[in-house]
Symmetry: C2
Subunit: 291 residues, 2 copies
């Protein structure tokens, strides 16, 4: 059985085919232009591979409410041409197979839970810190949607007195994304992350915001593990610093065994940046099983 | 069939008996002294009523992990005599009936979901703002435990420049509980909440912190409704102010129908302060059904 997997991002679309064991046979990429330019070649690709179901892990915000008339749509993105585009409906019409659908970050989390470092957990978080900051959440064994879906990058943060920058989020003057995303680092320090590796102050401030946010996620979502991915998190020196700042933010209030082993609790993504495509594969497998 | 319901608080223990329809037949209260002084009379009460199961909604932190050797214990409370006390084990030994167990705030939420204003929802929050600040969470149709259980009152907040006070939480110098609980109001303004009703600045600051925290809960937990209870929330003038500050904190980032009807989204507890005892009753009913 061949399943299709689409990691739909604002910059590129990653397409793959794989099997029910999480084996990926091939991957192709297309730049994300307009839906009219981009989607037909993607659907042609999956059609030519004769996929039995397709999973889509999609940039957002998206409408995930199964009873909504707009289920499957990308809602209010500033990305030209995509606001209101119903990617699930289009895929269904083009391929006529079951379509699984969730956020890009829920997809990455599902990849880690099915095939990676969070295997078997019922409550976990995947946070990506890159061009933006976003997070996927599994809660009580299911990906969390609730009213909409989590938007972990936009919680308000206490500002640090020694922070020379300010939020670059157009919505919030002190949210996590505005203070810690890759573009925020570049705006604050005048260079991209890879050119700032030796500047300790950069990572001290970055880790304080991230560690404080993770503490808030623990106090709200109570995850059994937190996985950090995205471009900024390729700076491996951040991990020990984030664990230290996280501990300072909780300050001993949460007492569990996990808190004594933070190196196993706050961890890097484990699937070589394939977590998204593997999660979308699992969305396809689940959609096929449910049909 | 008669079920027992115990709302175990740090100040008082409320005991009730009721039926599977949520009808409460009687309620009695005992002050919370030490376990040795308090618990035998409670168990005697329930024994005399011949309850078929008991639900306990308990102050915490508590151990909710069913596979833990300490399942049913109150863990690290400063309350004298209660740290390490296993209330479930003691109840089981005394009554020999199925025991349901959860946090006090999860109990209140369960009451509202079963019998009150959140009926039928799968994702909701109950936040109490009183002597302390705590919250119960339902996620994907189940009360949220995860690693431990949520501790919504301890997320870190951006401090307001015009706030004349400071956090009274011994753990955190800028957490929600430290800034908005009843004792915090009293410390900040030199009077208790009921004597501050006419001071607009008090409620402006209080509502800003609460509204900002609710925005963070929406961005993390994505609830379909937020219910506010506890002593401070008896100040009804807070509700419109909180909704306004909540809206300012999100600043249009989350677009759903619920956001256009905040008067139905951020609401007062609906069960005349019986939400806890009704939730504990439901814990008993569920424990009996599962036995």
């Amino acid at each position: 059985m061949i399943y299709g997997s689409l990691e739909a991002g604002g910059t590129k679309m990653v397409c793959a085919i794989g099997d029910e064991n999480g084996k990926i046979f091939e991957q192709v990429k297309f730049p994300t232009l307009t839906p009219e330019e981009t989607m037909p070649q993607i659907f042609d690709y999956f059609k030519s591979k004769n996929v039995q179901a397709l999973g889509i892990a999609c940039f957002g915000p998206i409408d995930l409410r199964k009873d909504s008339k707009d289920y499957g749509s990308i809602t209010s993105t500033p990305k030209k041409g995509w606001s209101g585009y119903n990617i699930v409906k289009a895929a269904k019409e083009a391929l006529n197979v079951p379509i699984g659908f969730d956020t890009d970050v829920n997809g990455s989390l599902l990849g880690e839970i099915t095939y990676g470092c969070a295997k078997g957990l019922t409550d976990a978080i995947y946070l990506t810190i890159g061009t933006g900051v976003g997070g996927g959440v599994m809660s009580n064994g299911k990906l969390l949607h609730g009213m909409l879906h989590p938007e972990l990058g936009h919680i308000r943060m206490p500002l640090l007195k020694n922070d020379p920058g300010k939020s670059i989020c157009p919505f919030h003057d002190n949210c996590l994304e505005g203070l810690t995303s890759g573009p925020s680092l570049a705006a604050r320090w005048g260079k991209t992350a890879d050119l700032l590796v030796d500047n300790k102050e950069v990572w001290e401030i970055e880790a304080t915001y991230i560690g404080t946010a993770l503490a808030s996620y623990v106090l709200t979502l109570s995850p059994q593990k937190i996985i950090l991915g995205g471009g900024v998190m390729h700076q491996e020196q951040l991990f020990p610093l984030i664990r230290e700042k996280f501990k300072e933010a909780l300050n001993g209030y949460v007492v569990t065994e996990e808190m004594d082993h933070l190196e196993d609790y706050i961890v890097p993504a484990s699937l070589n940046d394939d977590q998204g495509i593997l999660g979308a594969l699992k969305l396809a497998i689940d959609a096929y099983a449910e049909k």
